[in-house]
């Protein structure tokens, strides 16, 4: 073993150094984020716990304030690299990539590569909250911050980073398409929301909002049928489209089926969606057909949790946060 692997001294090990450089983005921040000891109150009783809680919370609150002050020194602008030339994109400014691809440093939480012919704007950037607009074109985001810190507004939806890498395209009509490579993206417009995991795609339309996520492995016919369900619910082809989606759905499509539970009207076949999803993931205890038919949110969440993809309590919290943020902006 090289000394370098043990203590970083001696002759460098090229492979170890490469791994260090590549992986350093995942390291704990320095200094670490403020500790919130109130997130779960300690048990009652015990020697000195009450006093310790108060004292430690105060000490950490002071430390947190110091960190916050340090973070607020951040310049409200992102560095832009285009063709080897560097410039800054300040809050409120537009960037048109007429000269070629541009790479934006999203503060210290990630990068966005904007393809030629795109138009983007920096809306706000501060510690824990970074927001941009994609008016048209394609961007590739790679974000390593915790979820709910990076937002992209488009003409038809708000894309919320839930810890991931993804590609987002906005066409001339304001419609959008997201392909998630790693992690999750949330799409939200009004009360309509979609949660798109890695390996899934979702479209969004002006005036409607996000469509139902679908796997990259689905057929073109499946996607067309899903688009009709999402964006033309009154179309005469609705019932055949639903039949196609249900018939072609496999276990990997449980995310799609779960979204359809609340999107297909009860009178238009929600029970059929219930049955198809239940064939892959039985509804957990307490989730009933009547409840799903009535759109019971708690039952929908419980069924999602049963999919084993993560708890809805996490994204419900994030969802609330991003809604709050949008109100404050």
């Amino acid at each position: 073993m090289s000394d370098y692997l043990w203590d970083k001294n001696g002759d460098g090990d090229a492979e170890v150094e490469r791994l260090e450089r590549t992986l350093q983005a995942f390291a704990q921040a320095t200094p670490p984020p403020p500790l919130d000891l109130r997130r779960r109150p300690p048990a009652r009783g015990g020697f000195g716990r009450g006093a310790l809680l108060i004292a430690a919370t105060l000490a950490l609150a002071v430390a947190g304030a110091v960190f916050t002050l340090m973070e607020r020194r951040d310049t409200p602008a992102w560095q832009v690299t285009t063709g080897g030339e560097r410039s800054m994109l300040s809050v409120g400014s537009w960037l048109d990539t007429t000269k070629g691809e541009a790479t934006l440093a999203v503060a210290d939480i990630g990068t966005v590569t904007v393809e030629p012919g795109a138009r983007v704007r920096l809306l706000s950037t501060r510690s824990g909250h970074h927001r941009m607009e994609l008016a048209r074109g394609t961007m590739h985001a790679t974000i390593w911050a915790p979820p709910n810190q990076f937002f992209v507004e488009t003409p038809s939806t708000l894309a919320v980073d839930l810890g991931c890498a993804y590609t987002l395209t906005v066409d001339e009509d304001g419609g959008g398409l997201v392909t998630v490579l790693v992690g999750w993206v949330g799409f939200t417009t009004g009360d309509r929301e979609s949660f798109i995991p890695a390996g899934f795609i979702a479209v969004t339309r002006p005036g409607v909002g996000p469509g139902t996520p679908y796997s990259e492995r689905t057929s073109e016919a499946y996607r067309r049928a899903l688009a009709l369900i999402d964006f033309s619910p009154g179309d005469a082809g609705f019932a055949p489209a639903l039949s196609r989606v249900l018939d072609e759905s496999e276990e990997r499509d449980e995310v799609t089926l779960w979204h359809l539970l609340s999107r297909v009207p009860a009178a238009a076949g929600r029970d059929r969606v219930f049955d198809r999803l239940a064939a892959f993931v039985p509804p957990p205890t307490g989730v009933t057909r009547d409840g799903i038919r009535a759109g019971d949110r708690r039952m929908l969440d419980a069924w999602w949790d049963a999919l084993g993809l993560g708890s809805t309590s996490l994204w419900r919290t994030w969802s609330q946060q991003w809604r709050d943020d949008s109100y404050r902006r």
Binding site: T22, A27, L53, P146, A198
Partner: protein, 165 residues
């Protein structure tokens, strides 16, 4: 008595600043131990939980010098508990990787490769390669012996090289 042990003793006596210093000193170790086991997006929350748990139980720690190993053990258990509740999304073997953001995707792939190693190796390698700790620091912060850390680094790195070639 070591400096850490003194801080633990002070924290047990109600010194909040001492606990804050322990958090500053051990946050990187806990972050690495947790990151070695669960999805990256969940790590920060679990790290917080680990310190809250440690805070709650600190008075039950009889030997202050055992704090590093005790805290690492809490981190491993909390990460394991979390892992049982959530299935991390690991799509890298299924999703085509675009040229853009390739460095980032490569980093995630390497992290996945490290996580696929036996726990003792993956944890030590994350602390060394991600968190940037030296072998001696890993030993001091986790309560493991320097010899164990050295062996874990050596064997883990060999397995990782094999996986990445």
């Amino acid at each position: 008595m070591t400096d850490t042990a003194r801080l633990v003793r002070s924290a047990q006596g109600g010194d909040g600043e001492a606990f804050a210093q322990l958090y500053q000193r051990f946050a990187r170790m806990v972050h690495g131990v947790v990151l070695a086991r669960i999805a990256r997006t969940e790590v920060d929350d679990v790290v917080q939980d680990v310190f809250v748990t440690a805070f709650e139980r600190l008075s039950s720690l009889r030997e202050p010098a055992a704090f590093p190993g005790w805290l690492a053990s809490i981190a491993r258990h909390r990460a394991a508990d979390h892992g049982r509740r959530l299935v991390p999304v690991s799509p890298l073997d299924e999703v085509p990787v675009p040229a853009r953001g390739h460095d980032r995707i490569e980093a995630l792939a390497i992290l996945d490769a490290i996580r696929s190693l036996p726990e003792a190796y993956s944890e030590t390698l994350v602390l060394r390669l991600v968190e940037g700790m030296t072998g001696a620091e890993i030993a001091e912060r986790t309560g493991l012996t320097a010899g164990s850390v050295r062996v874990n680094l050596h064997r883990g790195m060999k397995l990782l090289r094999d996986k990445l070639t």
